[in-house]
Amino acid sequence: MKVGVGYANVQKAHEGGREAAHRALQAGGIERPDLVFAFIGGAVPPADFLAGLRAEIGATVPVVGGSAIGVITPGEICYAGHPCGVLALEADGPFFRIAAAEGLAADETAVGERLIGDLAPGPEDGALLVFYDSVRRPPAAAEAPPELNVSARLIAGITAAARCPLPLFGAGLLADFGFGPTVQFRGIGVATQSAVGVLFSRRFSARHRIMHGCSPLDGVFHRVTRASGNLLYEIDGRSVVEAIDELYGNRDWRKGRPIDLLTIGRYQGEPYSGTEEDLYVNRLITGVLPDGRGIALFEPDIAEGDEIVFMIRDPGMMTASARSQSLALMEEMRAAGERPVFGLYIDCAGRTAFYSQTAVEEAAEVQQVLRRHGVPFLGFYSGVEIAPCGGGSRGLDWTGVLLVFGERSSDDR
């Protein structure tokens, strides 16, 4: 397979699309790509970008991707200006199928069902990649949290309709830190409130690692005593907002959209069986409700009676995790006798140095490892990351999901 990655950051979107595509084709020595992944910053007009991109790759090559807060390539990490990232693939013979479904704002589950219905996966198929619109409705006012599409429902629709278990990866797309509208590249056209899926054949292995970066704040479990959908009002019979006020010692944290440092963790293992990061699923707190009665979470999967722990973002752990997990993945592939072909890095926008107030980009760790191993890849900053975790695929917050496709090394064949 031929793989090429290109990047551009110019004000004129047409030029950016053309430049990024040209570089990708040039880097991969690709004449006519079979599939193109493309992600663009929120300031890039998508139609102009696509027109420029298609000027290089042709009108019929499927393009999958969409909005991103930023783009990560082997040479660039950028979430300012007009970043555009393109990954082009060219292979002998078919290796993927594409489907798209719209109507997320109405029913995420139905969209998932339609998507998988169109893809009709079978035993010969491998990993499924899904990119969907995270933002159902942007914030109505500056102080109000946005209304988001729920990954859990979309995933439920997909997994329920799939006739066989599929490793599901993907992302909820964000265009900017203000939760503005997003677009999805759905093969040929552009859509909103949609999900686009790429089903890879088993010809390529798909191995992944989840990069964490949060640890329990104090290890104290709290029972959810009042919640509704993605809104959490009370824990342990008291206002969750007051409880967080007490933790911070002030009310300044309430200004955060999403909230700085603190997330809500759900323990996935046997009670008190360990403190490893894989045992927790983090939920981002997108903001405090305008009336101060509760907090909004990125996903509506925390219900009354659940036990939660407060998690704290740990920059050191985030960076160390990115490095160690990337290295572990490469080692895993080596041990399995697989040659990495290309990678996708789906990284939570909250992990950027800008947002995390860290001195270094954690994505640089991934970038460094993949570059050292000669793996071409495209990464982007997202709202929600989807990956198999704790027995099934689920939407994750504040993680980085590194997915690397590989093929058996010729020595082992």
């Binding site: 329990p216 704040l217 104090d218 290890g219 104290v220 007490e246 933790l247 911070y248 010692g249 300044d252 944290w253 700085d260 440092l261 603190l262 407060f310 704290i312 973002r313 800008f354 107030q357 860290t358």
Partner: protein, 567 residues
């Protein structure tokens, strides 16, 4: 765990006590964990706020720097900071003056090498003085040698600053190349204007002298001419009279040269083959100067120029004589011609399709720039007293200008001199016309002639000559008197000989009035001035002839014949 402790836990009371202790212990740990969690969160929160504030300041600083950088980099003026003898900062404009990227200029170990050698020391001294905090007069204009070998003129002004805790100079550079060139052009134009004004003034003076001189010569020549006419060649005074006539002629030629210097239009412009004239003049000149080698490279197919052939001869002779004088020990006189289709020197508005370039060069003693400055000035000569009049090159200059041409000189002491003349070519073709009209026979005339001149001596001498030709002569000392005489004898007067420049009613007015009274009247115009101005137009328009003073009996006779022939 001790045996006692194990025993206590085995009993129900012991177990209750142990459970209570475990609960207390758990609560204790939980309280510690909660407290440390809060502290951790608050410290982290504080830290992130600090980092965020620091980031914001960095961002603001970066934006501020970007703003200043944008201003500095987009300045039309060059800006550079020099520390010791190195440039430590240069904006794009400053580097652009040299045609180098700023980083190359900054890494240059000797940036002064780009300065013109003649300005280098002064610039170094200014820089050193300014760095030392001493006063430096601003601005200073110097020459810069660019990467592509061109020269720019820059104006620098500056101030002393500290750069990274060291004394340095902040310099602002403005490209004044165009300004300097414009000033040079203006200076050149001013010089040309002064030269032209000087020439004009001298020309006017010379014209006046020539007029009076020619009037004086006119009567003298007239009498000599009459005496020769009356004398046999064997008469003892015949040869002295011929000598006087020749001397008067030479005096007259001197005034002609002065008049040529007036830059009046040549009288007899015809299509002239410059190569042909050169060959003729070289043939004569070569016989007189056998000590010098003459090399002629004359381009074939040269276009004709509309010129007074005799004046072109005069130009050539003057240049050849000057060249020969510059070769006292022998040498080479080189004459070249070529066609120029579009000489860069052609002034705006020139309409000539092409030009003829004539070069006269010698490898003789050459001239200093000071002498070159003055060689076209009238009466300027470097020759010993009595050998040169100082009018040769002034005349050449006047003739060339009068032909709408250009003349340049290039010379260096010890390396020779080269004169380059460019004359506009004419589209007219045909053989050159002869220099002089064939002499007319002098038929015996009868009739009354009115001669008008403000010089009584001229009237007297001219009357004698006209009487000699058979005419009955009436004289008038001015325009008014002449008009009165003409009115009284209108039908009797066969010819009016009138002077152009007279006090009171001038020749031109008189000419018109006579024509008004009797249009068919024959008029012969004479003048000590050259033949120029509106009168020439009248003569062309009506019937009339001109005779330059002084004139001999024969010349007068021919002119009279011409007037009668024209009528």
């Amino acid at each position: 765990m001790t045996a006692d402790a194990r025993d206590r836990r085995k009993s129900p009371r012991g177990r209750r006590t142990a459970a209570a202790a475990a609960r207390r212990q758990a609560a204790y740990f939980q309280a510690i964990a909660a407290e440390s969690g809060k502290r951790r969160l608050r410290e982290m929160f504080h830290l992130t706020r600090l980092i965020a504030r620091h980031r914001e300041m960095e961002q603001r600083l970066a934006e501020s720097e970007e703003r200043y950088r944008s201003v500095v980099e987009n300045l039309a003026a060059g800006m550079l900071v020099a520390d010791d003898d190195r440039i430590v900062f240069a904006n794009r404009t400053a580097a652009g003056f040299l045609g180098l990227p700023p980083e190359e200029l900054i890494s240059d170990p000797d940036p002064f090498r780009h300065v013109h050698p003649e300005d280098r020391q002064a610039l170094r001294e200014r820089h050193a003085r300014r760095r030392a905090g001493l006063s430096v007069e601003d601005p200073f204009v110097f020459r810069l040698l660019t990467a592509d070998g061109k020269m720019r003129w820059l104006e620098v002004s500056g101030t002393s600053i500290r750069w990274q805790n060291r004394p340095a100079t902040l310099n602002f550079l403005i490209d004044v190349t165009e300004r300097v060139r414009a000033a040079e052009r203006e200076k050149k134009l001013t010089e040309q204007l002064h030269r032209a004004q000087k020439m004009e003034a001298l020309g006017t003076l010379a014209g006046g002298i020539a007029h009076d001189f020619n009037n004086l010569m006119a009567s003298a020549l007239a009498y000599v001419s009459l005496m020769l006419c009356e004398s046999e060649p064997s008469h003892p005074w015949y040869e002295p009279l011929r000598h006087i006539e020749r001397q008067i002629r030479r005096g007259s030629q001197l005034t002609s040269r002065l008049l040529a210097h007036l830059r009046r239009k040549p009288e007899r412009k015809t299509p002239v083959d410059v190569n042909g004239v050169i060959r003729e003049v070289l043939a004569v000149f070569g016989r007189t100067r056998k000590d010098i080698r003459i090399a002629a490279e004359l381009e074939t197919g040269l276009p004709l120029v509309l010129a007074d052939e005799s004046q072109i001869e005069q130009v050539l002779l003057n240049l050849f004589v000057n060249a020969a004088d510059a070769l006292p020990g022998g040498g080479t006189l080189r004459v070249q011609t070529r066609r120029l289709d579009s000489p860069a020197e052609a002034a705006p508005g020139e309409t000539a399709c092409c030009w003829v370039e004539l070069t006269v060069a010698d490898d003789g003693v050459g001239m200093t720039p000071e002498i070159q400055e003055r060689i076209f000035d009238p009466f300027f000569t470097t020759k010993e007293f009595g050998r040169g009049t100082g009018l040769g090159l002034a005349t050449v200059f006047g003739i060339v200008k009068g032909h709408g041409g250009r003349i340049e000189v290039a010379s260096r002491p010890g390396q020779g001199t080269r004169f380059t003349i460019r004359l506009p070519a004419t589209a007219e073709s045909g053989a050159a016309t002869p220099l002089s009209p064939p002499a007319l026979a002098t038929p015996h005339r009868r009739g009354r002639v009115l001669i008008v001149d403000d010089e009584p001596a001229v009237i007297a001498s001219a009357s004698r000559m006209l009487e000699k030709l058979g005419f009955d002569v009436l004289g008038a000392a001015g325009g008014e008197e002449a008009l009165e005489v003409f009115s009284r004898h209108t039908e009797e007067i066969a010819l009016v000989v009138l002077d152009v420049v007279m006090p009171g009613m001038g020749g031109e007015t008189l000419y018109r009035r006579i024509r008004e009274i009797r249009p068919q009247t024959r008029i012969l115009v004479t003048s000590g001035y050259d033949f120029e101005g509106t009168l020439s137009g009248l003569l062309r328009e009506k019937r009339g002839c001109f005779l330059q003073k002084p004139f001999t009996l024969e010349e007068l006779s021919q002119a009279v014949d011409a007037v009668f022939a024209a009528s």
